[in-house]
């Protein structure tokens, strides 16, 4: 809705993200802004989700610890936050609907890494799901 206004902290932060199949896919932990080349005004380009984004937002020791754990449970050297482009968002209301599957999001990188690198090496892990 053109001209619609929202208070980002009250209306968008901590709101549930729901994927195209109706599955819970994380929450909005922060927003990333880019700069409009024509007007110079900042606009929302991505939603940030996951421990890195939340840790950075919270700050302090707890925030640093969260970001550090996220970095360790990851295959990339500098993993950064999980970004969801605003271009795949369908609607923002009391939840955020996206047009892609949660498997396609960066948010699933840490659980995937933990599954492949840690869980799969535990004896009997291959029989965990019959």
């Amino acid at each position: 809705m053109a001209g619609q206004k929202m208070d980002a902290g009250l209306d968008i932060l901590d709101v549930q993200i729901v994927d195209k199949d109706g599955r819970m896919s994380g929450v909005v932990d922060d927003l990333d802004f880019s700069w409009d080349e024509e007007t110079g005004a900042p606009y929302v380009s991505s939603i940030l989700s996951g421990p890195e984004a939340l840790g950075t937002r919270l700050g302090g020791r707890i925030g640093l610890w969260m970001a550090s754990v996220h970095a360790r449970l990851h295959d990339r050297e500098d993993p950064g936050p999980a970004k969801i482009s605003i271009g795949v968002v369908k609607k923002i209301s009391n939840h955020v609907e996206i047009t892609v599957s949660r498997e396609d999001l960066d948010i699933s990188r840490s659980p995937d890494w933990a599954r492949d690198t840690i869980i799969s090496k535990i004896p009997g892990a291959d029989r965990a799901v019959e």
Binding site: G3, Q4, M6, D7, A8, L10, D32, D36, Y43
Partner: protein
């Protein structure tokens, strides 16, 4: 720049006087068209003041009618809140935002209704 870079930052006017801390960032849907979302949100301005607890609970919303005791209490606390249009922002530094106007030029933020429209 992230939203969290703005939230809780202290805002100083052109004379170096503190206006308060950023309670929230008001967005307006008039940004560039991106993918299936269409026009994205750009920053309309900053809601700045001394106390933010009531704002986080939504007590500064026109649609929030009660409990009346809390509504009255938070209305009083938020009387010092000011809206800083983004055009007034001169610089965003770490935990500090500088604006190009005097604090007395700023007005109270307008409440939003449930459709995201500012109350007259």
């Amino acid at each position: 720049m992230r939203l969290s870079d703005l939230l809780h930052s202290e805002v100083y006017d052109q004379d170096g006087v503190s206006v308060g801390h950023v309670h929230d960032v008001r967005l307006v849907r008039d940004g560039p068209v991106i993918g299936s979302f269409g026009a994205t949100f750009s920053i309309d301005g900053l809601i700045v003041g001394k106390g933010s607890f009531g704002s986080r609970l939504g007590f500064d919303r026109a649609a929030m009618k009660g409990p009346w005791v809390l509504k009255a209490l938070f209305n009083r606390l938020h009387a010092s809140s000011r809206f800083v249009p983004w055009d007034f922002v001169a610089a965003v530094e770490e935990r500090k935002i500088l604006i190009s106007r005097a604090a007395k030029e700023l007005h109270e933020p307008k409440a939003l209704d449930l459709n995201g429209r500012e109350e007259a």
